[in-house]
């Protein structure tokens, strides 16, 4: 039976096998596995706009951490993007998060176990494909597969989990957390590779909710910016520059990085930071990409 969109994209054995192959990859090889585990980007090809929709506000895409494996010899050819998440039980840390209610480590582990499946379902639903052209290997199409396993070590992102109950009513807590943000709000701090997730948010997969919260945050963990259009906050969406130089501006939409009405990642542009990271990995391995399309 084939794997569904919510299933792990690689078994531990398959992942180890790809890593072993990557260890013996040679420069310019067209059938090898290329791998980079660490910080990717930023590409500088994404620009957030002010509310007027034409003036950049100075914010670009973020650098992000992930393990990216380019499996050129597989059938199908696949690019695996693995973002390892470490859950920190901060539900009892009322010094940092004053409105949180305590959960045991066991309960936390059970709750956060829903996150990888929610992220896989949202990000592998399309699925994304990258058509890569270079002078050595010609034109090859790769399926992009995203995974975000919960780990206890070697993590890419460390996430404080809080349990701020009245977030269910969208009040997001009575008090600020130690970073000056309402204690029930979830966010990613991109330059710190840290974040805070609220288990009681009614959009969280950990709460049996509508499940778009963690997939949206995963977008930030691969370098994407919010696409909201909001005059009051002087935000007017994001401009994306594709490999062929095409630029598109997106604001006031219901997509996953917008208002989240669409709960899966669908627009081609959401794979752009990964595409630029893949180009960089190819370059490191002696292959210069001359064309790249996202489908």
């Amino acid at each position: 039976m084939g794997k569904g969109a919510s299933d792990p994209t690689l078994s531990p054995e398959e992942l180890t096998g790809l890593r072993d192959q990557a260890a013996s990859a040679t420069a310019g090889c067209c059938t090898c596995v290329f791998r980079k585990d660490g910080t990717h980007g930023p590409s500088g090809k994404l620009a957030q706009m002010k509310a007027d929709g034409t003036t950049p506000n100075g914010t670009k895409d973020n650098a992000f951490k992930a393990e990216i494996l380019i499996d050129q010899g597989g059938s199908p050819k696949t690019i695996h993007v693995v973002t390892r998440l470490k859950a920190v039980n901060a539900t009892a840390d009322t010094a940092r998060y004053p409105d949180t209610a305590t959960l045991t480590d066991e309960v936390l582990a059970n709750r956060v176990a829903a996150i990888p499946g929610a992220i896989r379902s949202a990000w592998n639903a399309k699925p994304y494909k990258l058509k890569v052209t270079d002078s050595k290997c010609g034109e090859n199409t790769f399926t992009v597969k995203f995974d975000a396993p919960m780990v206890t070590s070697s993590h890419h992102y460390s996430l404080d989990f809080v349990n701020v109950i009245d977030a269910a009513t969208n009040n997001m807590g009575a008090n600020d957390d130690y970073k000056g943000i309402k204690s029930g709000r979830s966010y990613i701090l991109p330059s710190s590779f840290k974040g805070k997730f609220n288990l009681a948010d009614n959009r969280s997969a950990t709460n049996g909710g509508t499940t778009e919260l963690e997939p949206h945050e995963h977008g930030h963990m691969i370098g994407l910016r919010d696409e909201y259009h909001d005059v009051a906050l002087d935000r007017g969406g994001v401009q994306y520059e594709f490999f062929d130089g095409t630029k598109t501006l997106h604001a006031s939409n219901t997509q996953l990085m917008g208002t989240m009405g669409t709960k899966t990642a669908q627009p081609d542009r959401y794979c752009l930071t990964i595409a630029y990271a893949v180009i960089a990995i190819f370059a490191t391995n002696g292959i210069t990409v001359t064309g790249l399309e996202i489908d």
Binding site: Y178, K179, G180, I181, K182, L189, P190, S191, R225, D226
Partner: protein, 166 residues
């Protein structure tokens, strides 16, 4: 007087007196949010019901989320301060500034609100934070409203020496 903190600015807002205290020195760990105690180094806002009656109420606006209020600069070798401010969290995730009601049970009662230096990781990139002299600038803002009348709080910049291993 708040132990370990420097009194920086005081302003009278009708019946209440508003003061800012801060730690003039900080560990790099606290700035980078790796300290065990996030509030070891901090800014504190103190509101004293100096001349109001028992039951005096004010609307207090803490200067949070920081992206709406603060700028942070680092002094370079030429002595000039260079702005490091770069929003790390989109305002949709931080939410907008939200005032809160504060009620004083008696005259001379005191209310405190504090901000950890770890919070500056929300407005500056972590890799820009190193040892040195930082200048925190807080834009004038209505820190309290009393009976609908806003009091604009105008705090001078705060200089903070950040030391690794403090």
């Amino acid at each position: 007087m708040i132990e370990g903190l420097k009194k920086h600015h005081t302003q009278t807002c009708g019946p209440v007196e508003v003061s800012t205290y801060f730690s003039p020195q900080s560990s790099l760990a606290n700035f980078r949010d790796t300290n065990a105690d996030p509030f070891q180094y901090r800014i504190v806002f103190e509101i004293i019901n100096a001349s109001g009656p028992a039951g005096q109420r004010v609307q207090f606006q803490p200067p949070t989320p920081l992206a709406f209020f603060f700028h942070i600069s680092l002094q370079s070798s030429d002595g000039k301060f260079h702005d490091l401010t770069e929003g790390q969290i989109d305002p949709h995730h931080t939410g907008k500034p939200t005032p809160r009601d504060v009620a004083f049970a008696a005259k001379d009662d005191v209310f405190y609100s504090q901000i950890s230096y770890a919070a500056f990781a929300t407005i500056a990139p972590l890799d820009a934070m190193r040892e040195g002299l930082y200048r925190l600038s807080l834009a004038p803002f209505p820190i309290v409203s009393i009976d609908g009348k806003e009091c604009l709080y105008n705090t001078p910049p705060m200089d903070i020496k950040v030391i690794d291993g403090l």
